[in-house]
Amino acid sequence: MKLSKKISISKILIYTFLILLAVVYIAPLLWMFSVSVKTNAEVFSSPFAIPEAIQWENFQIAWGIGKLNIAIVNSIIVCVATLVCSMLFGTMAAFAIGRMRWKLSGTVMTYFLLGMMVPVHCILIPLFVTFAKVQLNNSLLGIILPYITFSLPMTIFIMVGFFRNMPGELFESACMDGCSIYGCFFRIGLPLAKTGLFVTGLMTFVNNWNELLLAMVFISDVDKKTLPVTLTYFVGPYSTNYVQMFAAIVIAVIPTIIVYSIFSNQIVEGLTAGAVKG
């Protein structure tokens, strides 16, 4: 009797703490949504009140005048291209490292993982100068290439764990049936590593969708800017127009929230299966 009471009190304490913390996380985001549908006058007089009338035109203005419509298309092109290439190249390399037998596999793995330690700032100037020479600056391809490169280490790190932990019998029986090494990769390896693909895919997408520094430096053409870069302009010339800035922020974060809510439950499973035992 005494014990069960003690447990329930600690339970209440824990849940209270977790809910309070959840409020700290949700409140700023909810507030952001509420400001984005207010008028500027309302923001100054009562920023924390519930909006009197919903001003959808804030979104329309941010979308058109702020050039978010162009920015979002650019961001989608960049992210999808990066996602496809880095997933393909990354899983291929991870398969060779984790599953195949060769002497240098450890060295190659270390080589790729070094990429996790290199800050993107180090290659900013040399790459900018080189790309300017070969006409790759100011083009989306010029940021896609470094994005792929910087997404590879994480993909390889997680996927190697997956391929290593797969039961060898599956591949053996496939070989007996005359499956080639490429068949082993595409028909057995990849489908079995589905959770890992979700996690790495989500991380790659999110990181590149939000990347600011490289895109800011490499792209100067207004029609080729990505979303985070376009957002920073709302600080300058539009700075007094808070509602539009917030509408722009909302437009920028909604795609990631949608993608995240689809895949969020896979994250822990994916990381557990891959990284821990590997």
Binding site: L18, A22, V24, Y25, I26, P47, F48, L88, F89, M92, A93, F95, A96, M100, R101, V108, Y111, F112, G115, M116, M117, P119, H121, C122, I123, I125, P126, L127, V129, T130, I148, T149, M176, I181, C184, V206, N210, L212, L213, V217, P228, L231, T232, F234, M245, F246, I249, A252, V253, T256, I257, S264, N265, I267, V268, E269, L271, T272, A275, V276
Partner: protein, 295 residues
């Protein structure tokens, strides 16, 4: 079977795309950056080799660099401590939760997937001296501080504020990785320890802690490197101001390289940054010994 998995041609084919990209986009530019850092180069005139002049200036005659290094080190220490403590604490609590585990986990991880640029704008507004948080404080008769503009003190208030916001945003990553590590521990180990009379704290200390050590190494490295190269939030919250008080290595590099176009000088900063990242990783790998356990 054996032969198939030793196929040299297939291995080359699998490694080649990634390997080539890595070499061209990463390795060669790093070598180039080291060379540029030894030159005087302002983008218009051709580079001129000047030896270590940039580095000497960087460490003896640049007050902003001193602030930047101080702030970067503070920021790294702050993030490391808060993220390890809060992240591990949340991971342990959530892992033992029966109801609502996924809900809370998803809420705490949410800011990690949002754009730092967007969140930076959001918080710069919320921490505005006249609006936002200070308006709430004013209701209670409290004069709120200038959250992002106070320049006093060795570590000015804005750095603490930015550090807190960064912890708020990124602690979910640490939590998520630790949750994954804890989920990988077989529950039979805990059952056995409870039969032997261990309490929860003993089980945590003797089972959980040693088994999540490999993950601790990963999270510590990720946090340290992530904090050293931190840029987005600071750029969107203070732009290094007031008067360069909140400049970190990355913002200093950006200003020197792409506002004043001092390529050589900025490259020297980037080489220092790279050296710090490699050094930190080296120290972490040396100091945390990971034992292998059969599970």
């Amino acid at each position: 079977m054996e032969k198939l998995f030793r196929d040299k041609k297939a291995i080359c084919l699998f490694i080649a795309p990634g390997g080539i990209l890595f070499t061209i986009i990463l390795l060669v530019p790093i070598a180039y950056a080291v060379y540029i850092s030894l030159c005087e180069w302002n983008a218009l005139t051709p580079p001129q080799f000047v030896g270590f002049a940039n580095y000497i200036k960087l460490f003896t005659n640049d007050d902003i660099m001193k602030t930047a290094i101080k702030n970067s080190l503070f920021f790294t220490t702050f993030s490391l401590v808060t993220q390890q403590v809060i992240g591990l604490f949340l991971a342990v609590i959530l892992s033992n939760l029966v109801k609502g585990k996924n809900l809370f986990k998803n809420i705490y991880y949410l800011p990690c997937v949002l754009s730092s640029a967007a969140l930076g704008l959001l918080f710069s507004f919320l921490l505005n001296p006249k609006m936002g948080l200070n308006q709430i404080l004013a209701i209670f008769g409290i004069q709120g501080p200038l959250w992002l503009m106070d320049a006093k003190g060795f570590i000015p208030l804005p750095m603490w504020v930015i550090g807190t916001v960064a912890t708020w945003q990124y602690v979910g990553t640490t939590m998520m990785l630790y949750m994954a590590a804890i989920a990988g521990i077989p529950s039979s180990l805990y059952e056995a320890s409870y039969i032997d009379g261990a309490n929860k704290w003993q089980a945590f200390k003797n089972i959980t802690m040693p088994l999540i050590k490999p993950m601790a190494k990963t999270t510590i490295s990720l946090t340290c490197i992530g904090s050293l190269k931190f840029f987005d939030l600071i750029y969107n919250m203070t732009q290094g101001g007031p008067n360069h008080k909140t400049d970190v290595l990355a913002t200093h590099l950006y200003n020197e390289g792409f506002q004043y176009f001092k390529y050589g000088y900025a490259s020297a900063i980037s080489v220092v940054l790279l050296a710090m990242c490699l050094f930190v990783t080296f120290i972490i790998n040396r100091s945390i010994k990971v034992e292998d356990y059969e599970m």
